[in-house]
């Protein structure tokens, strides 16, 4: 196995790519009793138009299929449900779907071998019937309803709608009650056959593991599959400009919430990790807890906590997000844009740069506190073609000049949007 290492945090990751194409990463941690396993496929809500490698058939799928498929994978032909089987072992099992991947996971202190066998069995054996597909519609319908009542999720979806005209990232991961009504077992099988081939999947294990022994165990549970060619995925052309400048909706919230988005239309570069880090430093200097702008907005009562910062990116999309609660989101937006211009013109100070870099280092180290966050991070970064250690090892190569360059190029006013959720009652 290939060994990757981070000396700074004293962690190693063992990498193996099997003949069938499956990528396996094992991060052993001798200090824990726990074991965490996550098995992901590079299939998310944005993958809604593709050509099946075997038959060559071109397929369009309704919104919400990747997530629906995730729900249905647990059901077994003998009437049992793998989630129940794992829970009965005292194993905490779950699954989730994102824009670009779907993942099945469990964590345990005991019964690891049985749990791994169960995970690998159910992910490799789909069982969909008209009846069990119909039954799931009620359950997922309530999951969608739950998100309908979640102001934070509505805020995010509206921000995506502002940023992108065509990109499928603007589709809700779970779909809509209407779109999932069109899902049947045939479309689930088609997606399964296409995307659940080992060559499109990755397994990450973190915890109390012996890498070589564990690798053998995984191999013994893999069923043989014919080689598969690359999946052809179709996406609309990349959006060059924003779709709309703003979107405002009313919901029952106490104080308005807002999300500022900045589109990054550039093709994904090789140094996306470096860019990601520089953006985080820039955001902290602009509006972090110690920034003059944050202090001002706090004292005016326009912010009461540091906004959440994010840079989401893949081959298909990239954008910066800044979200918080404010009685006056437009004022925050205006001040933010003003501050961006000021820093673009004047540059940043050495002191601010060094301090924010230190803070960033601390944040990266903290992500290695829990085996579940380590495993999830490795999977998510891998789906974007990155290795998580690059963050911790590369942080000291970021220069002040590079952050200034990023500030100039990635924080352009014509790429900015704002999504706001206002309070219904105040409008009445």
């Amino acid at each position: 196995m290939k060994i990757m290492e981070s000396k700074k945090i004293q962690e190693k990751a063992y990498l193996e790519k099997l003949k069938n194409g499956l990528t396996i990463v094992i991060i052993p941690k001798q200090t824990t009793r726990k074991k965490y396993v996550i098995w992901g496929t590079h299939f998310g809500s944005i993958d809604n138009h593709f050509r099946m490698p075997g038959s060559g058939e071109e397929v369009f799928i309704p919104d919400g299929v990747a997530h629906f498929l995730e729900h249905k994978m647990f059901e077994q032909p003998n009437g049992t449900n793998s989630l129940d089987t794992l829970m009965a072992l005292g194993v905490d099992a779950n699954a989730y779907t994102t824009n670009d991947h779907t993942a099945y996971l469990f964590e345990c202190t005991d019964h690891f071998e049985e749990a791994l066998a169960e995970l690998m069995d159910y992910v490799q054996h789909p069982y969909f019937t008209d009846e069990n597909v119909e039954k799931e519609k009620g359950i997922i319908g309530q999951e969608i309803r739950m998100y309908d009542d979640d102001p934070g999720w509505q805020l995010y979806m509206n921000a995506m709608d502002c940023l992108y005209e065509n990109n499928p990232i603007k589709i809700d991961i779970a779909g809509t009650v209407e779109s999932i009504s069109k899902i049947d077992k045939d479309v689930l099988y088609k997606c399964y056959q296409t995307f659940y081939h080992p060559s499109n999947m990755m397994m990450v294990l973190c915890g109390d593991f012996d890498p070589e022994k564990t690798l053998k165990m995984i191999e013994s549970h893999l069923i043989e599959q014919p080689k598969q060619e690359e999946i052809q995925r179709f996406y609309p052309p990349k959006d060059e400009k924003i779709h709309k400048k703003e979107k405002v909706v009313s919901l029952e919230v106490s104080t308005p919430i807002f999300m500022i988005g900045i589109l990054d239309p550039e093709e994904k570069e090789n140094d996306s990790v470096k860019k990601h880090m520089a953006i985080e430093i820039a955001l902290n200097i602009l509006l972090g807890k110690s920034s003059p702008l944050y202090q001002k907005l706090y004292e005016e009562g326009n912010l009461s906590a540091q906004p959440d910062f994010d840079y989401e990116f893949s081959e298909q999309y990239a954008h910066i997000l800044i979200a918080s609660q404010s009685k006056n989101p437009r004022k925050v937006y205006e001040d933010f844009r003003h501050e961006v211009k000021k820093l673009q013109k004047n540059g940043i100070t050495e002191e601010d740069f060094e301090r924010c870099k230190k803070k960033l280092y601390g944040n990266y180290v903290t992500e290695y506190n829990n085996i579940d966050s380590i495993a999830r991070m490795f999977l998510a970064d891998w789906m974007k073609g990155n290795n998580s250690f690059e963050y911790i090892e590369g942080y000291d190569q970021i220069t002040k000049e590079y952050v200034e360059e990023i500030l100039k190029n990635k924080f352009q006013e014509d790429k900015m949007i704002i999504s706001i959720v206002e309070n219904t009652n105040e409008n009445k």
Binding site: K34, M87, D110, E252, G301, K358, K359, N370
Partner: protein
């Protein structure tokens, strides 16, 4: 016991938890005081004002910069409820010195900073900075009003409020909107001084090779300034004097409307715990009822009837109560309630298997074993032991769970009483009038 305890003074305890599982060291300070309707709002405001500025770091900007210089050590504070106590919590999380890119000592610095924020606030002529007090009053009002933002949590909070109207446990931990405005800087300063005299104080550090910080803390001038106290916090008494008899019929049904798409159903159940060991029996009972994917609620409300995405229950040991929670289509209310109550009836009639009991125990044991894997969970576990006046190690706890029998669960199931059904719904009439 992993938690090494040292009494600094009566009512002030230092705890050191040695663990090599994390990249960070966690420093915490907790103040515990009984929940009181007239004081709760003021006390909720105190940490918000404290984090605005201290004597040596008078502004948030300076405080934040200092923490960022310490490789992004993070300060956090908050309010919690433990049984009938209000807990005011302060944390600093710092990177373990082993993982710093350059050799630097930050442990003592983290601790000093924590003590400085809590015990040495920025004062002007003997009271808090009035500007800080006013701006934090506005923030607290926002926090209290933001109860409604998370509908699922709001529904649970409201059910607790309805169920415990005459009990300190029913008090909202952040206090009440109408009580914020009248607070003066003087009131708040006095409330702070009283809090420091009366509260039970626990200071924690968790991490690897931290060395002996006890001496550092004990000799710290800010700690030496504190007086010994007989803390007033309440050790929760759940063993009931009056008998709880089985009832499916709720004592109270509450319906509330809001602009929502999904209905949120909460059912509060009183448990008639009669003996100490029944606290663990109740844990097993709850796991069978709604603890996980193979629980009665998940299986019947979600998997069989397809009524919900979320269906489960939580057990609050300090008050011997279970809250059932489910998000449902509004017109399915009657059907969901019927199915849920049937599960309680079934458990009473012994309609569950040895396997159900074993599964539930596995689930509980796994979650207990998971506690030392998260720094804050482990710290919170030992603090919970401290507040319950007991010192049960995780090993002992595991054994207690292991000893629970099906018969015990069945016995307890005879003493489950449906107290309150709460439903958060929209203003429409779906289900009552068919729409064209």
């Amino acid at each position: 016991m992993l938690d090494k305890k040292n009494i600094i003074k009566e009512g002030i305890t230092f705890h050191q938890i040695e663990t090599n599982k994390f990249k960070t060291n966690l420093f915490a300070l907790f103040l515990a005081i009984p929940l009181e309707k007239d004081e709760v709002t003021k006390r909720a405001l105190i940490p918000a004002v404290l984090r605005r500025g201290s004597k040596n770091y008078p502004t948030q900007e300076l405080m934040s910069k200092t923490l960022e210089e310490m490789y992004g050590a993070s300060f956090d504070c908050g309010i919690d409820k433990n049984g009938e106590n209000q807990i005011i919590k302060f944390y600093i999380e710092g990177i373990n010195e082993k993982f710093l890119p350059e050799k630097e000592k930050i442990n003592e610095k983290c601790f000093d900073m924590l003590l400085e924020i809590v015990f040495q606030p920025k004062m002007e002529e003997g009271h808090f900075d009035p500007a800080y007090v006013e701006s934090e009053k506005a923030n607290l009002k926002n926090i209290i009003s933001s109860k409604i933002d998370n509908k699922r949590k709001y529904a649970l909070d409201r059910c607790i409020e309805e169920m415990y109207q005459d009990d300190a446990f029913g008090i909202y931990k952040y206090g009440y909107l109408e009580d914020v405005d009248p607070i003066t800087t003087d009131d708040l300063t006095k409330a702070y001084q009283t809090l420091l005299q009366k509260a039970k104080i626990d200071i924690f550090v968790s991490g690897d090779q931290i060395g002996d910080l006890f001496e550092h803390i004990q000799n710290h001038p800010l700690i030496q300034n504190l007086e010994a106290r007989k803390p007033e916090f309440r050790i929760n008494q759940v063993i009931r004097k009056e008998k709880v008899s089985f009832s499916i019929k709720p004592k109270k049904v509450v319906e509330e409307t809001m602009q929502v798409n999904q209905g949120n159903l909460i059912i509060g159940l009183d448990l008639g715990i009669e003996k100490e060991e029944e606290k663990e029996v109740a844990n097993v009972y709850n796991a069978i009822l709604g603890g996980g994917a193979n629980s009665k609620l998940f299986q019947n409300v979600r998997e069989k009837a397809s009524l919900a995405y979320t269906a489960g229950s939580n057990y609050t040991k300090q008050k011997a109560v279970i809250f059932i929670r489910s998000g449902i289509e509004i017109q399915n209310y009657d059907q969901a309630v019927t199915i849920i109550l049937k599960q309680i009836e079934d458990l009473k009639n012994g309609a569950f298997t040895e396997e159900d009991v074993e599964n539930a125990k596995e689930l509980l044991k796994a979650s207990l074993r998971g506690i030392p894997e998260e720094q804050d969970s482990e710290l919170t576990y030992y603090y919970g032991q401290e507040l319950s006046g007991k010192e049960t190690s995780l090993e002992e706890y595991l054994q207690k769970v292991e000893l629970v029998t099906k018969q015990q669960v069945e016995d307890l199931a005879q003493r489950v009483c449906t107290n309150t059904i709460y439903f958060l719904r929209n203003e429409g009439n779906e289900g009552k009038e068919a729409k064209a």
